[in-house]
Amino acid sequence: MHHVDEQEMLALVGHRFPGGTRTIEHWENWLLTDCTGAGQPPEDLVHPVALFHVPIQGAGTSIAELFALGQVEGVAAVGLDSYDWEYFQPLRENIEYRFDGGVIEVERCHSDTGQVYDRFVFSIELSDSTGAPVARITNHWRLRR
């Protein structure tokens, strides 16, 4: 079992990611869509499941950095609890989007079997060049201790 101080984790609430801009290129969308088993979308539309990695990378962080922030150690130490993804506009290739977000909740919890974990929640908003909202994600991860 990996001990992580609860107060250190709770102090992550309010942590902001660097933020930034990012585009989704055609090759990336093509490969992503292919991974899902779907046919390629028409025109320049992006597969909606891009809302997992694109906001993380666009906000200037990464899965590895999020694991480090959450002091994750060992295989199977991270579980997905839930996603809440809102789409205000369709995502399109080669559009520069703005990304801003951070950690919004952390809670030390115990599973039904008594295992300690931290519920780690982060949220990122996407907007276009006019500032209009494009999408918002809120991801709940389970960091097992």
Partner: protein
């Protein structure tokens, strides 16, 4: 076809989850978690020589069902929870049904209960809000 509360969404099937696609997905996501691409890690976890499908890929099968039903720009919101892991070569099916209809900003939207099932047991469950095609 009229869509109303209780309407079933045509299912979308992934007959065999492909571990090669997990490797490509890991590269796209820049995901360092080896359970998705290194089968020796699966052995350490008691999964045999199998690897674990990424959560976003599991969700993507539900999205594919919605897009096949109402078009590529139909998804307005996805709220899903993840249960048991999906492993390579599993057969999974996305299913769903309409639980509500409302008009938002002049757009008719369906709220749908959605699931990803393996052998009839849900491994992802949640709610999707979908803009309905205009006739």
């Amino acid at each position: 076809m009229t869509i109303d509360v209780g309407t079933s969404i045509p299912p979308w099937e992934m007959p065999s989850v492909d571990p090669q696609r997990m490797k490509t997905m890991a590269a796209i996501l820049r995901d360092p978690y080896p359970i998705h691409w290194d089968s020796s890690v699966g052995q350490a976890l008691g999964l045999g020589d199998r690897v674990v499908n990424q959560g976003p890929l599991n969700l993507s099968y539900i999205v594919n069902m919605l897009i096949a039903w109402q078009g590529p720009t139909c998804v307005r919101r996805l709220q899903v929870g993840f249960g048991a892991p999906v492993l390579d070569h599993d057969a999974v099916t996305a299913v769903g049904e309409v639980t509500g209809i409302e008009t938002v900003d002049g757009e008719q939207r369906a709220t749908c209960a959605v699931r990803l099932e393996r052998n009839g047991v849900a491994v992802v469950t949640g709610t999707a809000v979908v803009a309905l095609r205009t006739e």
